[in-house]
């Protein structure tokens, strides 16, 4: 891969996040000669595992809840050793525990609360009904959220198939349910929860899950869509399930990477792409930050769409209307990452030892989540932030030294553009987070040997994720489906011939699902077949 190397690649994939890896693998399996370029020294993007303190390692994405079964199958990930069903200590799925400052926690077991403990009998019954309903409705959206987005005015078989499947799924709901499905579709999650539940802890968890990773509060219109998106994911065939993967997220990435190598993808780390070379409206190659130019028949960008179009291609080569749309993609993240190196396993009173392997959530009520969101609207962080916590070293002891423990938390809300600036804001926000933790795990502060807090601004720099945004662009109704990343260019194609998008900024969106990469690969192989 030096400049004397005259290989012309069939395809070069930019970005070795999970989507880039998956797309590259599938292209290679489709007999393409594929090169993948990753800027960082490690593959995996926000899912890569890194040392943040001597002997302590963690990844930013820490819970696996949507890796798509077709991806698992197409890449033979199970054959390569991915073991999703066996999470911590041989149990199946990771539970979600809603922590409580002054009472017993509430726990959802199995795949998103197949059983519920810590709640009244009446609440358990109400949850059972609501859970069935949520999963059914999420199921209707599933075909939309997995296939490539339907296109207006096109008769592409893929798009029609997705529409057809969704129509069929809706029909299967029956008339009453279909009406109700349409009624609630664009509701806010807060109102829906108030209709059906009464336990604040349970409502708090659902509200948190609905808004995690987006700039919405539970009372914001359409916030329910976020919960559907979450529940459209599945693990091991169980909708809504989650695991804290054995071996950490790093193990998942290692398996996907192995699949790429197995398929013959040439993997290159430390290769930052500076420019996509375009001639007469067609992508013909790219230039690395080092100045080296590499040519290819097809360029696939599995990095952020705004970066791809405005930085790597450049506005001068795009139509003005498109530039306007791309500039208007909202992608200012609100999630911060806390990595704590602890001297021992912290004590969360009331939480059963085996549940510490799961996901611990601080979101005591939907109102609390909403109040945490309020300051974020005005560029301030939440004084009492909400968060999801895992202790990954319990699942994979190799992540921490002996007797050490890692606490990994996704903390909301931490607006990307903090009004006072993160330089002074960050220590204050860290103090607020630690106070929250101390209130739920007394004594944790004394155990903490080192705290690494990544604000969205830090995440932007570390992972090359503009805005530090979870989804590489807000995942709200106006930026979903045929409007993702922008209307008119939603199906992985770009106005530059032979340049495709394959990252989370494309449909269906972020999270470790592999779907953008999978769909993009299918699209590229089909387009090649048409030529």
């Amino acid at each position: 891969m030096t400049s004397s190397d005259r290989t012309v690649w069939d395809a070069i994939v930019i970005g070795g996040g999970h989507n880039g890896l998956i797309c590259a693998t599938l292209l290679a399996k489709g007999r393409r000669n594929v090169l993948l370029l990753e800027a960082n020294a490690e593959m995996g993007g926000a899912a890569r595992t890194e040392e943040f303190f001597p002997g302590f390692r963690d990844s930013t994405a820490h819970v696996l809840n949507r890796l798509h079964p077709e991806v698992v199958k197409a890449l033979d990930l199970e054959e390569l050793g991915l073991d999703l069903l066996r999470g911590a200590s041989g149990s199946t799925f990771a539970p979600s525990v809603v922590l409580s400052k002054d009472g017993a926690p509430l726990t959802l077991h199995g795949a998103y609360g197949e059983t519920l403990t810590g709640a009244s009998a009446a609440e358990q019954a109400a949850w059972k009904d609501l859970r069935v309903q949520l999963l059914r409705y999420a199921g209707v959206l599933k075909p939309f959220l997995s296939r490539r987005p339907p296109e207006f005015g096109s008769r592409s078989p893929g798009g029609l198939a997705a529409l057809g499947q969704a129509a069929l799924a809706m029909k299967r709901l029956g008339r009453e349910d279909m009406r109700d499905f349409l009624r609630v579709l664009l509701m806010n999650v807060h109102d829906l929860l108030d209709e059906q539940l009464s336990d604040d802890r349970l409502k708090g968890l659902l509200a948190f899950d609905a808004v995690l990773g987006s700039h919405l509060g539970p009372r914001s219109p359409t916030s329910l869509l976020g919960l559907y998106y979450r529940l459209a994911g599945e693990i091991g065939g169980a909708p809504g399930a989650q695991v804290v993967p054995k071996g950490g997220m790093g193990a998942v990435i290692a398996t996907i990477r192995a699949a790429a190598e197995h398929a013959g993808v040439a993997l290159c780390t430390g290769a930052s792409v500076a420019k996509i070379v375009v001639e007469s409206g067609r992508a013909v190659g790219l230039a690395l930050a080092s100045g080296e130019e590499i040519h290819a028949d097809t360029i696939v960008s599995a990095v952020n769409p705004t970066t791809t179009l405005l930085t790597l291609v450049g506005a001068p080569l795009l139509d003005t209307g498109l530039v306007r749309k791309v500039k208007n993609i909202r992608m200012k993240g609100d999630v911060a990452k806390l990595n704590l190196a602890l001297d021992g396993v912290p004590d969360f009173p009331g939480v059963a030892a085996q549940d510490l392997h799961g996901r611990l959530v601080i979101a005591p009520s939907p109102d609390h989540v909403e109040r945490a969101f309020n300051p974020a609207k005005y560029g301030e962080f939440s004084p009492e932030p909400v968060m999801e916590i895992t202790l990954p070293s319990l699942t994979d002891p190799s992540l921490a030294p002996q007797d050490g423990c890692i606490l990994s938390a996704n903390v909301q809300y931490a607006p990307y553009a903090l009004k006072e600036g993160w330089e002074t804001g960050k220590p204050k926000f860290l103090a607020a987070i630690m106070a929250q933790l101390e209130a739920h795990a007394p004594g944790i502060g004394r155990l903490a040997r080192h705290a690494e807090l990544l604000t969205p601004a830090d995440i932007e720099v570390r992972y090359l994720m503009p805005g530090g945004h979870w989804h590489h662009g807000e995942l709200q109704a106006d930026q979903m489906l045929f409007s993702r990343p922008v209307s008119g260019w939603s199906g992985y194609d770009t106005p530059i011939e032979r340049l495709y998008l394959a990252g989370a900024g494309s449909h269906p969106g972020g999270g470790i699902s592999g779907l953008p990469g999978l769909n993009a690969a299918r699209r590229i192989l089909a387009a090649r077949a048409e030529r």
Partner: protein, 412 residues
């Protein structure tokens, strides 16, 4: 990769907002002279300016263009200043034609399109120096220009109010300018421009116009506008110089076969109905499209439409039998099939023919050229007389005047 570094480069704006909208009918810098010449008091609204439809006699004003020298205030025309090391690259990306081939001191007629390739406007691009341009057009486009400038080191500002403009058109226009003391004016060839001293400053004179005749356009800072008018009127006295209104100019431009945005085609941003938008090839501007010059806005859509034979309309010149202007007449094939519409028509006094500019739905006007008719409704004392007249597609312009391009121009 900070988000702010994604925010593209230092496009600077001199002035975002113009104050034109604060006055319902703004005056141009020449208004005192126009008002004094306005005998008919027929006004119309030109982009918010009070502009004369006619001044003293529409008919004679037309003949001032063709046999004397006509002075027409073009100050309301929208003008943009585009400057900077990448001004050429920016103009090239914005417009259809190859700006690298537009030399300093030259002007060309061009157009620009939206992402779908639909024409936003047409206008003239003046290359004042290697890195300074002036773009003149009918509509207002500052937001579009600024957004198109993302990624270029260029400064863009609107100068419609600051810069006054005059068109001096007609066979004696050269003599007027020479006698006004603009030494060297005889060297200007069509589409040349140059700066000439005027009072404390300068006037930019280009050999351009909208009449198909010998003629010039003059641009000057608004403070120097009135002395320029007076200088021309004094020098032109013996050359028959006359101020004119738009009606006369409109006749001349139809004879010259030139189109006007929102009269002969609907500018893309104005069109309410999706099917009213037009690609360059659909309004006779296909010659501007340069597929080899690199990216320009709408390139992909235009080339796709051209390759996929998806062009729906064609703009043609028509010569119509008889002498009744066929304004807004419907065009028929074989007298019964509706195939298009006339957007401008006159009895052309110089061509001595009834001529029209029409948009036809392809393949009519493109592959099928014969047996075309226009249906004219002539109001005759409160009754429509409906006549079918044979129409023949002819090349534009409808008149070709030697004097338009002779250099040096003939003296009078």
């Amino acid at each position: 990769m900070n988000i702010s570094t994604l925010k593209p480069s230092p496009t600077q704006v001199w002035q975002i907002a113009q104050s034109h909208f604060r006055t319902l009918r703004a005056d141009t810098p020449f208004q005192p002279r126009i008002d004094a010449a306005a005998k008919t008091n027929e006004w119309y609204n030109w982009s918010g300016y009070r502009a004369p439809h006619s001044l003293w006699d529409e008919e004679l004003e037309y003949f001032a263009i063709r046999s004397q020298a006509a002075l027409f205030d073009i100050s309301p025309m929208t003008k943009y200043r585009i400057e900077g090391p990448e001004a050429e690259a920016f103009c090239n990306r914005l417009t259809l034609r190859d700006v690298t081939r537009l030399k300093p001191g030259r002007v060309h007629y061009t157009a620009w399109c939206d992402d779908q390739g639909f024409v936003l406007d047409d206008g003239t691009l003046f290359r004042l120096s290697p890195d300074r341009f002036r773009l003149c057009c009918q509509g207002r486009h500052l937001p579009w220009l600024l957004d198109s400038a993302i990624g270029f080191t260029v400064r863009i500002g609107e100068e419609t109010e600051q810069v006054a403009g005059l068109a001096l058109q007609g066979p004696t226009s050269f003599a007027v300018l020479r006698d006004a003391g603009f030494a060297g004016i005889e060297r200007l060839k069509p589409f040349d421009l140059a700066d000439f001293a005027h009072e404390s400053g300068a006037v930019t004179i280009s050999r351009t116009g909208f009449t198909g005749d010998l003629g010039y356009e003059l641009f000057v800072e608004r403070e120097l506008a009135l002395p320029l008018w007076d200088r021309l009127m004094v020098a032109g006295q013996l050359h028959g110089i006359r101020p004119i209104g738009y009606a006369a100019l409109d006749r001349a431009r139809i004879e010259a076969g030139l189109i006007v945005a929102n009269a002969d085609f609907t500018a893309a941003q104005q069109a309410v109905r999706a099917d009213r938008q037009r690609l360059p090839y659909e309004i006779g501007l296909g010659f501007m499209v340069d597929a080899d010059k690199g990216h320009f806005n709408g390139r992909r859509a235009i080339l796709d439409a051209r390759a996929g034979k998806k062009l729906r309309y064609v703009l043609v010149g028509l010569e119509i039998e008889g002498n009744i202007p066929a304004e807004h007449a419907i065009v028929y094939h074989k007298k019964n099939r509706e195939v298009g519409l006339v957007s401008a028509a006159i009895w052309a006094p110089t061509a001595k023919k009834s001529v029209a500019i029409a948009s036809l739905r392809r393949p009519f006007g493109d592959l099928i050229l014969d047996d075309l008719w226009v249906e004219i409704y002539a109001m005759r004392e409160l009754r429509y007389e409906r006549v079918m007249k044979r129409a023949r597609i002819v090349p534009r312009p409808f008149i070709r005047l030697e004097r338009r391009s002779a250099t040096p121009p003939a003296d009078f």
